[in-house]
């Protein structure tokens, strides 16, 4: 495999920061090349991961069984109450439905499910073939909404109609239909929505706690530990705080346009970014200086406990090299900063869905010699990890076994994280996980580190 280089046509999606390098012009936001072993998913996947955490809604996948089966409870989005989202519902279309259409089946399934489970709203995901067989899911949704009295929202997420990002957008469009339909009279003038936080391993709870401690009302979190009722009232908040900008910026923009709610981009990963996420919100409410005071108090309190803890790891981790390949580019920025704070450097940074601005910012931030990739694949990742002698890979489910086969430590910063990595305590968890994996005694047996029979 050593001779395999870079896919033809992908040269422009890879950039190495070094002296004499050509002008930075990374090519991104492209569809993947036919025939590539891409790590990317589809439009449906984008919609599904964004809406999935709304726990008291019904999520019905309209199509053949696979799309529902593969997305059954795969995202560790925790709910503090209802858990209807963790079940898998499908119209399980058969050959006859493909020929004669699936509308009737969809209608009957919806009526039955709404009767059985009394959800607060229903999201209907269309999969690849729905448009092709001519099902008018909008019409079915309207009809069921009328008959049942709950919001029944079509999500136009046909897999082939774009990239995962278009799926995020379709999800935002569906959410936007809910926003603005609930009462907002009693919402505080010091209030926010937390957007793009999915409560993996309970992360939204950590973030929410900080803001509430600052005296801010959190009207809704979208969509982690999400509730239909809260989404309906989201237009009553005074500020949208957007994390995972790739997935939720379009909703924030729509809400700004329609309801005049401004938004800011934040990240909850790492000390610097977490602190900034609190300060930036506080700055938005200058007429109440207590909020900023409280933010400072939280940051200083948390850092005081966290800092000495991190120092314990720093010695062991200093000089170790990391490779990062995650879904969104914004997360990469935070991870680079977080790793630097314990003396680690980043030798490879990439994302599935970054845009030009993201990559420019990334380039500014990276050290000399860092490789930047867009929509990478296992061959490239392996090649750069070995060439750059990375000690750690941060990625998702498909990257994990590659790292382990190479004999490189791994940290899941995606759906399969098991402990909260956001917030100050999340920073501790993150570094602990990195430490535990990088310094695990198992690597001494790995051939790469000289271990052999």
């Amino acid at each position: 495999m050593e001779q395999i280089g870079i896919l033809e046509g992908r040269e422009k999606q890879i950039f190495e920061k070094k002296e004499g390098a050509a002008a930075f012009d990374i090519s991104c936001e492209k569809t993947s090349l036919s025939g590539s072993v891409s790590q990317r998913a589809c439009v449906f996947c984008g919609s599904r991961v964004v809406l999935y955490p709304v726990a008291d809604a019904l999520h019905l996948v309209h199509g053949p069984i696979g799309c529902a089966a593969y997305t059954w409870d795969i995202r560790g989005s925790v709910s503090s109450g209802p858990e209807l989202h963790r079940l898998s519902f499908s119209t399980d279309l058969q050959e006859m439905d493909v020929i004669y259409g699936g509308e009737k089946k969809l209608y009957l399934s919806l009526i039955e499910l709404i009767e059985k489970f009394s959800p607060k709203a229903a999201f209907i995901y269309s999969t690849c073939i729905i448009g092709l067989i001519g099902d008018d899911i909008d019409a079915v949704c309207r009809k069921v909404q009328q008959e049942t009295g709950i919001p029944v929202l079509p999500v136009h997420s046909e897999g082939f109609k774009g990239t995962k990002k278009d799926g995020y957008k379709a999800a935002c469009t569906a959410l936007m239909k809910l926003v603005g339909t609930g009462p907002i009279e009693d919402i505080s003038p010091y209030s926010i929505n937390i957007l793009g936080e999915f409560n993996l391993a309970g992360e939204a709870w950590i973030i929410r706690k900080y803001y509430e401690e600052m005296g801010i009302e959190v009207v809704s979190t979208m969509t982690g530990d999400g509730r239909v009722g809260a989404v309906r009232r989201a237009h009553g908040a005074k500020l949208n705080v957007v994390q995972c900008s790739g997935s939720m910026t379009s909703l924030a923009k729509d809400m700004e346009e329609k309801y005049g709610i401004p938004y800011i981009r934040v990240s909850y990963f790492g000390i610097e970014d977490m602190a900034a996420a609190l300060y930036d919100v506080a700055k938005h409410f200058p007429d109440r200086p207590e909020i900023m005071e409280k933010a400072r108090e939280i940051v200083s309190r948390e850092v005081k406990t966290l800092y000495p803890e991190l120092q314990k790891f720093k010695q062991a981790l200093s000089g170790k090299k990391a490779a990062i390949y995650v879904g969104g580019a914004f997360k990469t920025f935070s991870l680079i900063k977080a790793l630097r704070s314990v003396g680690m450097s980043v030798v490879l940074a990439g994302s599935q869905t970054g845009n030009k601005d993201d990559y420019l910012a990334l380039k500014e931030m990276c050290d000399e010699g860092t490789v930047i990739v867009d929509d990478s694949n296992p061959v490239e990742l392996s090649k750069f990890i070995l060439e750059k002698e990375a000690d750690l890979l941060i990625g998702g489910v498909k990257e994990r076994p590659i790292a382990f086969k190479l004999g490189v430590a791994f940290c899941d910063h995606n759906h399969e994280r098991k402990i909260p990595l956001a917030g100050f305590e999340g920073m501790y968890n993150f570094i602990l996980e990195v430490y535990q994996s990088v310094l695990s005694p198992v690597w001494q047996f790995a051939p790469r580190k000289g271990g052999s029979l």
């Binding site: 495999m1 036919s34 593969y70 079940l87 399980d92 086969k405």
Partner: protein, 459 residues
């Protein structure tokens, strides 16, 4: 109670599936194709399909799983996916350099009407397949059958498209592996070797999806049935198809194309099905059953008898795929257990008929397969008539937890435990492992729940 929504009242449902006991065809085709050496599976459809299948297989095996995709766009859905597939073939051979591309379709490409036979032929005619390289295909529409069907179709495809009859018979037997783990395939090869039977086992995912840590990411691991082996299946004396749903179609294809006679057997799980397999292989290959195999059988039987009191009369609910459920149910009956509720999302009258035959020994047992035979129904049945043990893939853990039932993970996918890729469940040794796993959860429970005065040291 994650499944607190499950009601005990069972009502007919109109098409709706809740918590499926199956998934779609393409993932089965992808898994089967990984059992050919140097093969890159290719998903002809949207990017998401390929990503989901790779993720699921990765979660099940904790191994990298390589596969390419046609990456359909809106244009492809209007003009057909031929251009995408032809472009993909170029990319794959020039960059990933596999020996074989195994293309399977998806609901999208099937609905558009892409004809894989025609497109792959065009690729050959246009000289897109380099000398010594191959392309095979299988139609695997997601709206027909289940993941098991997809596996069967791809295995039939490899037999149909590779096998050649030279006119000279070879002293070998084809073993068509139904959907089983790499560990099972390895075990079948071991048993055959032990018996001195010359076999070609296909597909063969051992040394592909249970690959050792080498410090390298092998794009094409060393395992897998080879092209010369697949070609030679056309000259074999006969075929033994291990599984009437997932393996038989390949044996039928070999019979039709090359006149290789076949016998269809249940997958060799448990003592009775393994007996039938060993006898059939001994007859087909013209070899005697060696003492070592007889001794293996004896060891399994010894455990069955030593522990019979712990198995006897215990009620079991199980779910999964046809070719496992058939012999597993039989094995549970042989152990003296009572299979009570059985569901499988995989449709088929043949499967239902075989289960009915076996369940004659289990009066009052519930069985359903195909549409609406899902985990929701299984849970409802369990609520109405509780069981002592649940056997099935990882998705059973919700029911096991809510209803507080001992749970043995078995089948596909297993997303939360290891072992299935390393320890076989076929053959007599595999039977031992199943018996051990079942006893383990039953006896652990007895230990945990027993009253102090009834808590026993010796069991």
């Amino acid at each position: 109670m994650l499944l607190r929504h499950t009601t005990s009242e069972v009502k007919e449902r109109e098409g709706l599936t809740i918590n499926p006991a199956k998934t779609c065809q393409p993932i089965g085709a992808m898994y089967a194709a990984l059992g050919i050496h140097g093969c890159l599976p290719h998903s002809h459809g949207s990017q998401g399909c390929c990503a989901y299948h790779r993720s699921t297989l990765t979660r099940h095996y904790k191994e990298p799983v390589m596969a390419a995709t046609s990456s359909f766009t809106e244009g492809a859905s209007v003009f057909g996916g031929q251009a995408n597939l032809l472009a993909a073939i170029d990319t794959i051979f020039s960059v990933y350099d596999p020996d074989i591309i195994a293309v399977h379709s998806t609901c999208l490409s099937e609905t558009i009407g892409d004809d894989l036979q025609q497109i792959t032929k065009k690729a050959l005619d246009d000289g897109k397949i380099p000398e010594g390289k191959h392309i095979i295909y299988a139609a695997t529409p997601s709206f027909v059958g289940s993941h098991v069907t997809g596996y069967a179709n791809m295995v039939a495809g490899m037999a149909q498209q590779f096998a050649v009859s030279t006119g000279e018979k070879k002293d070998q037997v084809n073993l068509v592996a139904g959907w089983m783990e790499p560990s099972d395939m390895r075990e079948l090869k071991r048993i055959s070797k032990e018996m001195g039977a010359k076999v070609v086992l296909f597909p063969d995912t051992s040394d592909v999806l249970d690959a050792p840590q080498t410090g390298k990411h092998e794009f094409y691991p060393k395992g897998g049935v080879t092209v010369p082996e697949l070609r030679s299946t056309g000259d074999s004396k006969c075929s033994l198809a291990l599984g009437c749903i997932s393996a038989e179609p390949a044996a039928v294809a070999l019979d039709k194309k090359c006149g290789v006679p076949f016998e269809t057997l249940d997958m060799p799980i448990g003592i009775s099905a393994t007996d039938r397999f060993v006898m059939a292989l001994s007859k087909a290959a013209g070899v005697k059953v060696p003492d070592e195999i007889t001794a293996e059988r004896g060891r399994l039987l010894d455990v069955m008898t030593d522990m019979e009191q712990y198995f006897h009369g215990r009620k079991v609910a199980l779910f999964g795929d046809p070719d496992q459920l058939i012999p597993l149910t039989e094995f549970l009956l042989d152990l003296g257990m009572q299979p009570k509720h059985i569901v499988s999302g995989t449709p088929g009258a043949r499967f239902a008929k075989r289960m009915k035959e076996i369940l004659q020994r289990a009066p009052g047992a519930n069985f359903k397969n195909g549409l609406n035979a899902d985990m929701f129904l299984l849970h409802q049945w369990i609520k109405n008539e509780p069981v002592d043990l649940l056997i099935g893939n990882t998705y059973g853990k919700y029911i096991a937890r809510d209803e507080d039932i001992p749970f043995v993970r078995y089948g596909f996918p297993i997303l939360d435990r290891i072992g299935h890729s390393y320890f076989p469940s076929v053959g007599y040794t595999g039977g031992l492992r199943l018996a051990e796993k079942i006893l383990g959860v039953l006896m652990d429970r007895q230990d945990m729940k027993a009253k102090e005065e009834k808590f026993e040291l010796v069991m």
